[in-house]
Structures are given as structure tokens and as C-alpha cells.
Amino acid sequence: MIGLRHLPGAGQGQMLYSGRIHVTLKSGVLDPQGDTVARSLLALGYDQVKQVRIGKYLQVGLEAEGQEEARAALEEMCRQLLANPVIEQYEIEVVPA
């Protein structure tokens, strides 16, 4: 694994960005883990809980010329590998690293 601290400094004209990605199951797709956690919360007395959905949070450190380029690259990564479009959706946030 490449930790952020191992990334080389930004190249000429490049900026370092941090992509914050949430991958979650599409609404309507059963989430057995989320349902189990919801039942546990109800058992603990949190009667106000209506639903729990469990997903993944990924932080991707990357170089790009600008924020839009960083976002486009992250979009492509999500489509190709980070999310399975059959069952998952994703949200991307890009911030300067």
C-alpha cells in the first residue's frame, strides 16, 4: 500500500489533492450488515433509528493540474475499480491535500 506520506512531492504544474470517496450500496439493494447494526441499535434502546446503511470511505491522494482533473480521474477510478456499478454508488469530494 502507498500511504500518503510516501507520495513524492507534486511535479511541475501539479498540485496534490485528496479525494474523499464514499462507496455505498444503491438504495433498494439489501444491506444485511446495516440491517444487523440497526437491530443492535434498537436493542440498545435507540428507538429513533429507522435505518442503517454501511459503506466504505476511501481517501485517495493524487496529483493533478487542477481540481476538475483530479475529480475526473477519481470518477474513472470509481467506475473501473472502486465501486461495482451493479450494486454500489459513489460520491466524490476533492480537496487540496
Binding site: 450500496l25 439493494v29 439489501l30 444485511p32 450488515q33 444487523t36 475499480l81 461495482n84 451493479v86 450494486i87
Partner: protein
């Protein structure tokens, strides 16, 4: 037998092919890119790449998967068992995806499977509707596909194996993982790529107390022997 880092049923499958069926077979490491000369490629069970991200998600980008995709496109027989099924789904060689079992548990138990389509290279030695006892062992075997895909699978007789009880009845109790429509195994449109969650290599010899898996292996063998593996 394709071997990914983390595959752990590869030796079992090779044993069945060589010692039980008396056929030639060998391991193909995930970095290899040439599958010429094979009648059938098996993606075995296990935990390829530690199941990181999603089961099969990393394995599908292995060099060997380009070769498997080309092999399948040329009509070669591809069998994905358990994690191998998950890899085929991630690679888009079969439709749908796997969710975590509805019990949220790793389920390791005997299941009964009804043969829904006995005309495939993997089931020709079975009777239509025959019930086979085959074990499962997985955490993500809860097959999911959107309603249109499920309807298409049913219409094209691509659901090959379904979880049933001992009497051959499709019940919720017989379903070990919450799989849509009790689906245990599906085949692609062309009929040469099969994925199933149960492990036929774990029930192919009398010493293991169950030989029902032989029906699937014998199907494959007779199909290949009666004119080669090519389907399309």
C-alpha cells in the same frame, strides 16, 4: 486451474481432474497470459487478493483474466467456483453481483441444488430437475441482479442451479445466503461460462462421503470428449 494469490481450492480441483477424472490439468499462475491448448479453465474458490475491496474485484485485473476473457469469447469452457464465480461477476463475464449473505455469517454447510438446465456442458450428465447435495462455504454468496436481468436469466434458462430442500422444493430455508430466486449457479448467454457458489470438487469421491459433485465433473468430461469444448 487458475491460481490467484489467495486461491485455496485450486489443489482440490486439480486433484479431482487428475486423480478422479484421470485427465490432464495444471495450475495457471495469475501472471500467465496464454491459455491455448486447454479445453476448460477453472477459476477456483478461495480469497483472491484477500477479498480486498470486494471479492474478485482485484483478481479481475490480473493478466490471466485478459486471457480468460479471450478464451471465453472464443467459446472455451470456463467454470468459476465460489470465489471464481465472484471473479466472473466482477469481470463482467456473468451478469449481476454478490452481496454479503443475508445472515451476515460465513455459511459452511451442505446444500441441495436442483438442476434447472441439464443441457449445458456442465450439467449434461444430470437429469433435468435432479437434486444434488453439494456443500457451500462463503460469506458473499447472496446473488443480486436487477429485476430485468433476473427476468432475462430465467427466460433464457441461464439459471442452471437453484438452492432447494432435500425434496427438491425451492424454499427460503433451503437458501443459505439470501440469493435472489434461490440462485446457486448461472451460465452466460452463449452457454460456455458457468459460475456457481457450491463446491463440486468437495464431493467427488466416496471417501468424502458424497459423490454428487461427479455429475457436474462427468458432464464436463463427456462434453469435452464428445467433440471438444467449444460451444460457439
Amino acid at each position: 486451474m487458475v491460481v490467484f494469490p489467495g486461491s485455496n481450492c485450486d489443489a482440490d480441483v486439480l486433484h479431482v481432474v487428475q486423480q478422479v477424472l484421470g485427465q490432464e490439468g495444471r495450475f495457471v499462475w495469475h501472471r500467465e497470459e496464454d491459455l491455448s491448448g486447454f479445453d476448460c479453465v477453472v477459476l477456483p474458490g478461495g480469497f483472491s487478493y484477500g477479498d480486498y475491496l470486494r471479492p474478485g474485484a482485484i483478481a479481475r485485473f490480473s493478466p490471466v483474466m485478459r486471457a480468460v476473457t479471450a478464451f471465453a469469447a472464443a467459446g472455451g469452457l470456463v467454470l468459476g467456483i465460489c470465489n471464481g464465480f465472484q471473479v466472473l461477476l466482477e469481470a463482467g463475464l456473468l451478469p449481476g453481483a454478490m452481496l454479503v449473505n443475508d445472515s451476515v455469517q460465513f455459511r459452511c454447510l451442505e446444500t441441495w441444488l436442483r438442476v434447472e438446465n441439464a443441457a449445458t456442458p456442465f450439467t449434461v450428465a444430470c437429469r433435468p430437475g435432479q437434486v444434488l447435495r453439494v456443500p457451500v462455504a462463503h460469506h458473499e454468496g447472496n446473488y443480486y441482479a436487477d429485476p430485468a436481468t433476473l427476468a432475462e436469466l430465467e427466460a433464457q434458462a441461464q439459471v442452471v442451479l437453484r438452492y432447494v430442500n432435500q425434496n427438491g422444493e425451492e424454499t427460503p430455508e433451503a437458501n443459505p445466503n439470501g440469493s435472489a430466486r434461490n440462485i446457486a449457479g448461472i451460465i452466460n448467454r452463449y452457454g460456455n461460462v458457468l459460475g456457481l457458489m457450491p463446491h463440486p470438487e468437495r464431493c467427488a469421491e466416496p471417501i468424502l462421503g458424497n459423490t454428487d459433485g461427479r455429475y457436474l465433473w462427468n458432464s464436463l468430461l463427456s462434453w469435452v470428449q464428445q467433440g471438444g469444448g467449444r460451444v460457439v
